[in-house]
C-alpha cells in the first residue's frame, strides 16, 4: 500500500497534472454533405466509457468567434474540470461534443452556427452532426439526455438552438452570450461579402431577444420545457444583451437562472463558468 502511495506521488509529481482517471479526449470528424467538407470535432469520453453501457448523456459545448473546437480543452481545461466534478459527483459521466464552427482555412474568425450563404451549419448540426456522433458513441438520442452550452458566439447559439429546437435539449447554459447584433455589438466590416459581415448579420437575424418578444403561448410553453441559465460578467461588453433577454424571459414567465459574476469577456470567466455549467447540465439530464 505504502509503495503504491509513493509511486503515485512520484507519478503525480512528474507531470504535476491532476490524476484524470481514464477519461479520454478523441479527435473526431464528421464528413458533411451539407457543408461539402469534413468538420473537426473534439470529443470527451468519460472514465470507463463503453458504448454498450449507453445511451450516455451528451453535452454540446460550443466555442466562440475567434476560437475553435480545441479551445474548451486547451484554454478551459475541460477534461481536468469534468474529471474532478465527476469524481465528487457534482457532474455525471457524460460525452462532451465540441465541434468546429468554421472550416480548416478559417483564420481569425469562425463562420458561426447559423445558416448563411454557403455555410448551412444549423442544418449540418441537427441533420448530420448529432445523428453521426450520437450513433457513434451511443449517447443522447432524446431531449432528456442532451444539453447545450457555449461561450460568446457559442453561448448565443446555445440559446437560439434551444429557442428553435426546444424539443432537442433538456438544458441550456449560455456564457457571455452574443444574443443579438442590433447595435453592432461585435463591430462588423462594411464589406457585405466579408465572412465576418455574414456572421454578424446572421446573429442579428437570429436575435434571441427578438425571439422572446415574438414568442406566443405555444412557443412559451415549449421554451418552458428547457432549463435555462444565463451567466455573464459585469464588465462584459455584451452584458446588456443578457439583461434584456433575462428581463423578457422573466416577464413572460419562462424560468431562467441568471448570474452576473465578476469579470469580463475572457477565458478567466469561462474557465470558472465551466465549473457551473457541467453540474447544471448534469442535474437536468433526466434521472
Amino acid at each position: 500500500m505504502k509503495k503504491i502511495i509513493l509511486l503515485l506521488g512520484a507519478l503525480l509529481c512528474v507531470g504535476a497534472f491532476p490524476l484524470s482517471g481514464r477519461s479520454r479526449m478523441v479527435n473526431e470528424s464528421v464528413s458533411s454533405k451539407i457543408l461539402g467538407q469534413t468538420i473537426a470535432v473534439n470529443v470527451y469520453l468519460p472514465d470507463g466509457f463503453d458504448a454498450s453501457k449507453g445511451p450516455y448523456p451528451v453535452l454540446y459545448l460550443l466555442h466562440g468567434l475567434t476560437d475553435d473546437h480545441k479551445a474548451w480543452q486547451e484554454r478551459g481545461g475541460l477534461q481536468t474540470v469534468l474529471d474532478e466534478l465527476v469524481g465528487t459527483g457534482e457532474a455525471v459521466p457524460m460525452v462532451v461534443v465540441m465541434p468546429r464552427a468554421g472550416d480548416p482555412d478559417t483564420h481569425r474568425y469562425q463562420n458561426g452556427y447559423f445558416n448563411v450563404r454557403n455555410w448551412s451549419y444549423e442544418d449540418f448540426f441537427f441533420g448530420e452532426l448529432i445523428p453521426a456522433l450520437e450513433s457513434r458513441y451511443h449517447c443522447g438520442g432524446a431531449k432528456a439526455r442532451r444539453a447545450v452550452s457555449g461561450l460568446s458566439m457559442g453561448g448565443g447559439a446555445s440559446v437560439v438552438y434551444c429557442q428553435r429546437h426546444p424539443d432537442m435539449f433538456s438544458s441550456c447554459y449560455a456564457m457571455s452570450p452574443w444574443l443579438d447584433n442590433k447595435n453592432n455589438e461585435v463591430g462588423m466590416p462594411a464589406d457585405k461579402e466579408d465572412r465576418l459581415y455574414l456572421t454578424g448579420a446572421s446573429v442579428r437575424e437570429h436575435s434571441a431577444v427578438d425571439f422572446m418578444d415574438r414568442a406566443d403561448k405555444d412557443a412559451l410553453d415549449a421554451l418552458r420545457s428547457v432549463k435555462w441559465f444565463l451567466d455573464c460578467g459585469d464588465d462584459d461588453y455584451l452584458l446588456h444583451l443578457s439583461m434584456d433577454l433575462y428581463a423578457k424571459m422573466r416577464q413572460k414567465g419562462v424560468k431562467c437562472e441568471f448570474r452576473v459574476r465578476n469579470g469580463s469577456h475572457s477565458w478567466e470567466y469561462w474557465h470558472t463558468a465551466l465549473r457551473l455549467s457541467l453540474p447544471f447540465a448534469s442535474r437536468n439530464f433526466s434521472r
Copy 2:
C-alpha cells in the same frame, strides 16, 4: 462614446481576451556570480508602473519542480487574474517576480530553492536576486512591502524562506506545499549523484515541519511576525504535510490561515489558489 464602445467591443472580440489595462510582462534575467550563470525571471509590472512612484510592494511567486518561471503566466493566467483583482481593488498594484529555480539546461526537474552542491540558490535568492530586482524596479526594500507565495516545491520554499528569514517577508501563502520528504513523498532516485536526488534531499533537510518542532521562544516570536496561509487540496498526495505543519503551528500559537479545498495536486487548484493568494498578500502589505 457609442463609437468607442463599438470599437471596444470589436477589439475585445478579436482576441477574446480580457482588457488587461497596461500591465506588462517583462522577460528579465539576473546574472549570478554565486550560481555562475544567468537566471531567467518573469516579471509583472502593474498598470501605470513608474519607478519614480515607488517603492512598490513586491511578491515573489515560485514555481514547482516540473515547471519554470513562465508557468504562472502561461498556465496560471497571472496577468489576467491580477489585472482583474487590481481592477476591483481586491489586490493592490504590485510587482510580481517569478524566477527560474533551475538552469537553462533543466529538462524535467528544476533544481530547487535551497543550497545544494553546485547550486547555492538560497544564497542567490537573498544575496543577488532580491537586491538586483528591487533596485531595478524600485519595489520591496522592506519586510512590509515584500511577500512570498508558491506552489508545490515553490510552496514549500515559501514556507522555509519565511521560517529562515522571517524579517524579510510580511506574508507567506503556500499552495499544495512540499514541506518535507521524510516518507519519500516525491519519489527520489537511488542514485545520490542524480540532480533529483539532491533536490529531494534538500527538501528533507529543510523540513518545515521539523523546523516548527524545534522552534524556541525567540523563533516563535519571529514566526509570529509573518502572516501565514496554507492551502492544499483534499485529494493532494501531500496534504498530510500541510496538516502536520498546521497542527504544530496552532499548538505553538503561531497564527495561520488554513484551507483544504476540493482538488488535487494540479494546475486547476493553483489557478484558483492564485485568486486567493494575491488578495492575501495585498492585505498584508503595510498600509
Copy 3:
C-alpha cells in the same frame, strides 16, 4: 399578470421573507418505550408533499450539545435554504427529520446520540424514530433513500451512526464533528454522575477515530458503501479530530471528501455548511 406581480411584491415586502413555496415545517413527536418519554422532532416536508407519491428520500439532520431540534430551522434557516436549493435543482425534494437528543427538562446540555445510563438513544433512533417517521411520512425505507448529517455532537453522531450502521445510510456529511474526547476536548465535569460527564464519556467510548484504527477488511468494505464528507473550520478547536479521521480514512482507502473552510465552531459556519450538505445528500440518493 401585472397585478399578480404587484401583489407578489407587496407580499414579499411585508415579511421580507423569501417565497418559500409550500414546503412545511411540522412539529412532530415520537412516543418512545425505550426512553420512557416522548421525543420532540422537527420535520421539513417539501413543496407538494403527498405521502402517496413516496417513498421520498429522507435526511436525518442532527443538532449539537447546546442546541435542540428547533436549532436547524431557527438558527440555520433550514426551510429557506432547502427551498432555494430545490428551486435551483441543487437539492432534491426530501423529508428532513430533526429529532431532539435530550429530554424536555434539558437546560444547557443535551444527552446525546449514544446509549448511556437511562438514555438508550441509539436504540431509540434506529428502533423507534426511524420506523415511526418513515412510515408516517412515507420516506426512506432503504439505504439508498436515507442520509445523515449534523453539527458538532450531531456531526460526530452522524459519523458513528454510519460506522456502526453502514447499511442504513447512503451518505454522511459531518460538520465540525465531535469525533472523540480523548483529550477532554469538550471539558467534562469531574462528577461522574453529572449528565455532561456521561455524554462526554459516551463520545470517548464511541471514538470515530479509534473505529477507523480497528476497522478490518470487512468493516472497510462496509464503510466504502457510504459517501463521506467532513467539513470543519480552520479555527475550530475540534479540527484536529477531523484531520485525524480523514488521514486514517485516506490511509485505509475509504474515500471521503474533506474541506477546511474559514471559520470557527459557530453557527456562521454551519449556516454555510448546510448549503453544501443538502446538495451532497441529494446527489447521493440513488437515482
Copy 4:
C-alpha cells in the same frame, strides 16, 4: 497551555458561539430636534475600541422597510461576521452605525430615509445622526473614512444618499435595492394619508434611476468619486431596478461593480451579501 485549550474548548462548547473577540454591540440613541423624538441606534465597536486611537472608519448600515435597527445583528449576524472578517484581515476594524428609520410606535413598516411630511429623516441623518455619533465614537469625520450600505429600502437609500451627498461617502454597497417605485414595485395603499403611501411616494420621488438620467457632467464627476457596488438576487422582484441603474451608470461612464447572485428578496441573500459588503467598504476606506 493544555489547560487553556481545554478551558477554551469548554467555553466555546457551552455557547456553541464563535469567539467574538471583545467587539461590542451598544444600544445607542440620538435625541433629534428635527424629528422631535429620540431615535434608537445599534452600534458595533471593534475589538480594542479606544476613542483616543481614532478616528476610526465608520459604516452606516441601513435596514429595510419591515425591519428595524436590530435586524442586521439579530438576523444578519453582523457581529459574528465582522469579527471573523477582521480576524482574517478581509475587513478593517470599523465602527458600524445602524439607525432606526422609524419611530418607536412603528409596527409593520418603517418611515424610511427621506424627508416626508413630519419625518425629515434625511435632514436628521446628515444634520444630527452623523455629527452626534462620529463625535461620540471618534469615527468618520471625512469621506475617506465613511461608507454606507443597506438592504432593500436601505439599499435604495444608500444609493440615493451617495447620489445627493457624494462628498460624504467613499463607497456604497446596495443590496437588493428599492431604487424607484415607478411601477408601484412595492404595492402602496390608495390612502394618501397612509404612512406607507408616503414612504412609497418618497422612493418614487427620489428615484435613483431618474437621477442617473438627469445627471450632467458635474454630477457625473461627483458620482465617480464614490466606489459603487450593486448586488441583487436573480429571483428578486426588484432586480429590474438594479439592472436599469447599472445599465445607465455604465452608459454614462460611472464605474460600478454589479453582481446578480442566486436568490430572492430574503435574509438568506443579505446574510451572504454582508460578507461581501464589509470587505468592500474596508478596501475603499483610504489608507
